[in-house]
Amino acid sequence: MGLEPPVLAVENVFKRYQVSRGLLRPKRSLQAVRGVSLSVDKQRTLGIVGESGCGKSTLARMLLNLERPDEGDILLDGRSAGTVGRLDFSARVQPVFQDPYSTLNPRRTILETVMHPLRVHARGERNARETRAARLLDLVGLPRRAHHAHPNQLSGGQRQRVAIARALVLEPQVLICDEPTSALDVSIQAQILNLIQELQKEFGISIVFISHNLAVVEHLCDEVAVMYLGRVVENGPTADVMASPRHPYTKALLDSVLTPDVGLGLPDLQLGLEFPDPTNVPPGCAFHPRCPHREPVCSTEVPPACAQAGHGSECHFADRLAGAFAGPAAVCAGRG
């Protein structure tokens, strides 16, 4: 860290969609992202955690410049994404998506798939491209005999390896991983997580890792941002956030991590039955209908936003709750 600008930064970004409710009814506005600021430094990993509908995948699309924000800006090396140019941007920021079954072209061989970005970006001669693609496939641990296979001949884990090789073949600065392991089996998930970590060291890249699994994020990320209904409700160094959460939603997410400890039973999250609906964001603090610690002020006033640096929480009672969550009685069962 220091004087260098972050490799990739999001500044006060908003994104709305219009959702149809049928032929004759007026469209409704869906507030996917409501004023998010985040940044990831060189060779660091930023985790973004949240449940469906919290805007994390919309944010990923904006980070990849696939979608322009309605307000705010995405900065790559301090320059606005709008001025960087699509081709240049895509060479420097590459995605790994969740579903390795739908992101590979079924008619291309594995080697062709990994060579394709080089061709689009006119890098090198055909031979050089092939050598480079083969080297990447070696690095991700795919056997040589698979190079001329088609995706349907590979397992889910192998496909995700191909997707990672394809993302890295252009030597990007940033990798955006949107739930890269949630479609994989447990034993394979660990292989892919280890691979991502190794390759980060090897290539010196920055990673934005989007997940709903806090245990995975804790394992992989330097910083973490917890999102709820389009806002970052808590952010900070991963270890701090995990050890002493300052937002009741983060606390609930942490409690939801089920460790394989017999006898601990199931935690009582006390979240009630309300369900977050991004087309109908509650006034005040968006989390208040589910919050076990809510007070009258929570339904009327929006809590102050997270600070950009350090460990921040978007909660009226962050300090009080931090104390309560850190108390011995509240220590997340089965940790340590």
Binding site: V186, S187, A190, A239, V257, L266
Partner: protein, 328 residues
């Protein structure tokens, strides 16, 4: 106590091309009334096929073969389609992973809930409606009368899964089979649904077979566990015994490959190398041998020793020592 469901030596073969996939290779499972059995395994381990066998809902050309599938003393492997239809949804309820694909989008929630009761109990519309409203309330859905008039797409994922559970419980079954009921849900919703299942089980005294790949879930809800790999149960026993001292290298590997909260960053996870073997070919010895650090030549050829202890049994020639997990 006699088991409510007792499966002995179940085989499932699915024809493909010239051969067949031997998806389930001699599985024994049993669950007692009021207990929870968790069947754990990765994709292709045969866990879903085993469950579908009980319901006789296997894919069209699949062949099922078992010494017996006893449900409440009756061998349901011998029952005809009509008798099976009488059991399904009536005495055995089932909840699937994807609530969106298992609910009919063209009918209201109420219609679909009522159908079960009207069909199996021959109840009147008003009685079935009242029962449906009662069940929605039981699974923690507020304003049930309004929900009954809604269509599946108007509900969130968590609500749909509650509706599925309500539907499975409409006729007070003795056994509930839940195939990955929470895998498609958000983590906080998962905990709520699991709590709901546990509360209902205690209140109604039903037996639950929960199929999952998540050992965290298993540890928190199971009475007994069966770990499946490549169509076989490799380790089974009381949850306490299996988690306190996993003996099969695959169980140990699964536990080690989970990221543990509180451990922080850095250390690579202990992944299990390799991939699951193809079940198109016969596997002579131990199916896990190719990925196992303890395997020797005898493991690849077979036969594999099965150790049966009081509350714990496993099939492995080189099982881990007791309480090996604490050394890790």
């Amino acid at each position: 106590m006699a088991a409510l469901l007792d499966i002995r030596n179940l085989h499932v073969r699915i024809p493909v091309g010239f051969g067949h996939v031997h998806a389930v290779r001699g599985v024994n499972l049993s669950v007692e009334a009021g207990q929870t059995l968790c069947v754990v395994g990765e994709s292709g381990s045969g866990k879903s096929m085993s469950a579908l066998s009980v319901m006789n809902l296997l894919p069209p050309r699949a062949m099922r073969d078992a010494d017996r599938i006893l449900f409440d003393g009756v061998d349901i492997a011998q029952l005809g389609p009509r008798q099976m239809a009488e059991l399904r949804g009536n005495r055995i309820g089932m909840v699937f992973q994807e609530p969106m694909t298992s609910l009919n989008p063209a009918y209201t929630v109420g219609n679909q809930l009522m159908e079960v009761h009207r069909r199996h109990r021959g109840s009147s519309r008003s009685a079935a409606w009242a029962r449906a409203a009662e069940l929605l309330e039981l699974v923690g859905i507020s304003n049930p009368e309004m929900r009954l008039r809604q269509y599946p797409h108007q509900l969130s994922g968590g609500l749909r899964q509650r509706v599925m559970i309500a539907m499975a419980l409409m006729c007070e079954p003795g056994l509930l089979i839940a195939d990955e009921p929470t895998s498609a849900l958000d983590v906080t919703i998962q905990v709520q649904i699991l709590r709901l299942l546990r509360d209902l089980q205690r209140r109604l005294g039903i037996a639950v077979v929960l199929i999952t790949h998540d050992l965290g879930v298993v540890a928190r809800v199971a009475d007994t566990v069966a770990i499946m790999y490549a169509g076989q149960v490799v380790e089974t026993g009381s949850a306490r015994a299996v988690f306190a001292s996993p003996r099969h290298p695959y169980t140990n590997g699964l536990l080690r490959s989970m990221p543990k909260p509180g451990n922080g960053r850095g250390e690579p996870l202990q992944a299990i190398p390799g991939t699951v073997p193809s079940l198109l070919e016969t596997i002579p010895g131990c199916a896990f041998a190719e990925r196992c650090a303890r395997a020797d030549e005898a493991c690849r050829v077979g036969p594999i020793a099965t150790t049966i202890e009081e509350r714990h049994s496993f099939s492995c020639n080189h099982p881990a020592d007791i309480r090996a997990r604490e050394e890790v």
